[in-house]
């Protein structure tokens, strides 16, 4: 802070000590109120902590018993009056929902149904529904999250309507929920999606899908031609992860896309669903590409290439960029049984750093 020193009389017309003292008092009063708020908050948090601890313990005991129960009567007898008493406060109910969700994440099989039964029995769904109906985005998103984590399938249609919500977080939770309810069939929202799917979102969807058995993704060709670039990107990843060979032609078309990230992913996907002419397609693409995509082509040729690709790869040893030379060397060594000799011969004739070959040889030994 700047320490001001003044003696000018004229200045007093505007700022007088009394004004500054009033402001000082105001600042000190606000400071006092903030400190008061701080300690009140800490006190409330502390009280809440102890109350929550008791409630958590009661709920833990109940969940522990529920996980081994079979019949409706057995389930009900584990819900103690004490637990019901704790759950009268909204904050405790939220904590209970969070605890049930955490439990659900860590268990599998029939026990999940008992956790969901408890959620319904304690009427916690009402709390989730209130959030879902809220106009505040983060409450709505959280409501969706809770409803799908607690497998409230009757909400499927209502949640589906939010898969193209203007708010990205509501949209994301709704899409994950639909996948959670319906697996691969839930991907139907991609048909009408007008907003972007971020990379983060795509990773979450792929993780969610990984829990379901793979199916034939018949809508993939349509998604690969979507006007929504993020849908194309996600479809490319789906084709890659689930090796959907039947979309080879559509993926090849994606190499013409102006978006570099799409072309990059298309190269990776083509490698995973490669057919006989895929290496040639990648070679033809090479000269039109930018640096990162060129590198990717060479990396993928190392996986799917053969002796036939050696002349092309040898040419790439003359690239000015060392990383391209390195990837080309790696590819040659993978594609040919006498790759080392081929590269050594090239090094003798051309100006190629020998350290590149040494590095690749080390990698192969490792």
């Amino acid at each position: 802070m700047v320490l001001l020193t003044f003696s000018k009389k004229s200045f007093f017309h505007f700022i007088q000590p009394s004004h500054l003292y009033i402001a000082t008092l105001a600042f000190l009063a606000v400071t006092f109120l903030m400190v008061l708020a701080l300690y009140t908050y800490l006190y409330i948090q502390k009280r809440r902590f102890f109350r929550n601890k008791l409630m958590t313990q009661a709920l833990d005991d109940c969940i522990g018993a529920l996980l081994i129960e079979r019949t409706q009567d057995d389930l009900e007898k584990n819900v103690t009056p004490q637990l019901l008493k704790y759950l009268k406060k909204p904050i405790s109910r939220q904590l209970a929902i969070d605890q049930l969700i955490n439990t659900r994440k860590n268990i599998s099989g029939e026990a999940i149904n008992n956790v969901i039964w408890l959620y319904n029995y304690l009427n916690l769904k009402e709390d989730s529904l209130k959030k879902f109906q809220s106009n505040v985005w983060y409450k709505k998103a959280r409501g969706i999250y809770e409803l799908y984590m607690m497998n409230q399938r009757d909400m499927l249609l209502k949640i589906f309507k939010r898969t193209n919500s203007q708010n990205e977080y509501i949209r994301m939770e709704a899409q994950i929920a639909i996948i959670g309810f319906s697996g691969f069939e839930g991907l139907v929202f991609l048909n009408t999606l007008t907003y972007s799917l971020t990379e983060w979102h795509q990773i979450k969807l792929l993780e969610q899908l990984s829990t379901f058995n793979q199916v034939h993704l018949e809508k993939l060709p349509k998604w690969l031609q979507s006007s929504n670039k993020s849908v194309v990107m996600f479809a490319l990843k789906l084709a890659d992860v689930y090796q959907q060979i039947f979309v080879h032609d559509e993926v090849t078309e994606c190499l013409k896309d102006e978006n570099e990230k799409i072309r990059l992913q298309a190269i990776k996907t083509l490698s995973r669903i490669a057919v006989d002419n895929t290496p040639q397609i990648l070679q033809d693409q090479y000269d039109n590409e930018e640096y990162a995509t060129k590198l990717e082509i060479l990396r993928q040729l190392a996986i799917i290439g053969s002796e036939e690709d050696i002349p092309f790869l040898l040419e790439k040893l003359n690239e000015s960029d060392d990383n391209l030379k390195l990837e080309a060397t790696r590819a040659i060594m993978k594609c040919s049984s006498n790759g080392e000799e081929i590269v050594e011969k090239k090094i003798e004739n051309d100006n190629i750093p020998v350290s590149i070959l040494k590095q690749v040889k080390y990698e192969q030994v490792r």
């Binding site: 320490l3 700022i15 983060w200």
Partner: protein, 476 residues
Amino acid sequence: MNFSDIVFDILTYGIFLYSVVLLLFYVFIGLYSIGETNNYLHRNIFTDYRLLAASIHIPSVSILAPAYNEGATIIENVKSLLSLYYNNLEVVIINDGSKDDSLQKLIDRYELEKVDYHVQYKIPTKEIKGIYKSKSPIYRKLVVVDKVNGGKADALNVGINVSSNDYIVCIDVDCILEQDAILKMIKPFLEETDARIIATGGVIRIANSCEIVDGRLIKVHLPGNYWARMQSLEYIRAFILGRMAWARLNGLLLISGAFGAFDKRIVIKCGGYNHNTVGEDMELVVRMRRYMEEMKLPYKVAYIPDPLCWTEAPESTKILGRQRNRWTRGTIETLKLHKIMFFNPKYRLLGMLSYPYWLFFEMLAPLIEFFGFIIFVLMTFFGIIEWSLFVSLLAFIISFGYMYSAFAALMEVTSYNMYRRKTDMAKLLLTALTEPFFFHPFGVWAAIKGYIDLIRKKKSWGEMTRTGFGTTQTKS
């Protein structure tokens, strides 16, 4: 009105206007940061990082950690980095010509062997003496680079050249990172839509007095040492209020060198870290932003309010003074290098707000304060000071400082509440009461020494002796 009256009026009203604008900025920053922090908390409250950290779909990341004479703690530091929770990770330790046994310790502990490795010098650096990898597959993530001493910026540039991934996280090797730190830092890059995320900054917290076992933070305590405790408050104010507000405006100029994530392609296009400044962390962010502005590419620099990185703060005035001296020189050098942006509408918010703010209220503030103090002494000597106004102004400014510190403490408690012992918050607030009389004047004096050193063309970082988390280490 004679000439001296005119000069006096300009000084009086000029400094008054400067102070009013500065205080208004503080109020704006404080209030504006609330929305950003709350928004972040709401967005991430039920994100399951545990599930995603193990995903094969997350992008690969290289951590770059330069080390100079870190022999005392290097093994624990590397162990801590290798245990981070992230699937596709490469840990690059750059031994910047250490004079101690850092390298030998690493070789012995992690079963390292010198490997054939071709380095393309996309950014010119000093010579690499050797690259080491572990014979054991357990440490396959680890790459150790031994190089000729060239300073932190040069070491980081070597790391950029050697790293094999698209995203780099630059850290101080002795920092303690939270287990999910990398995933949280990379998330903004994955959430980008129209604007490219070029860098993400993370909050740095003070680890002095905290319980650290095996390179992991076990329990948080408020520092026992006065200077470190004062820095805890200062860091809360700077990170939770200042940088969050600037991030919301997309006007952030500084990502701490102790912990920042970058898009490597943009870093390379900009030429990497500048080794001719001691403020290489700020300079890189400014240069990257300038590059994006000049290319007319939409971009954003993101900030994460989670306490993800814990570092040891200087506990003595000697070391603290050197640090602040260096920060001042770094700020001046950076702003001088990019003076073309000053009030230049071509650079939009960067030129019209961020740069002028840093120039007037970060770079010039200590100079103006020091000048004010000299005037005060002279006026007192000549008996021309109006004491009633002086005392009221002093009370005004000190009470404003208290209010701002109380607000920062309130934000800390209502967001992350890291200091949970009963007495911690009281201690922190009591420490704040002393700030205008000890810590702040000390900071101004250290900054003035920074100006003097800059005029003398001093380029060194200054010895940074660290106590270490239970051990002793020396860094320069």
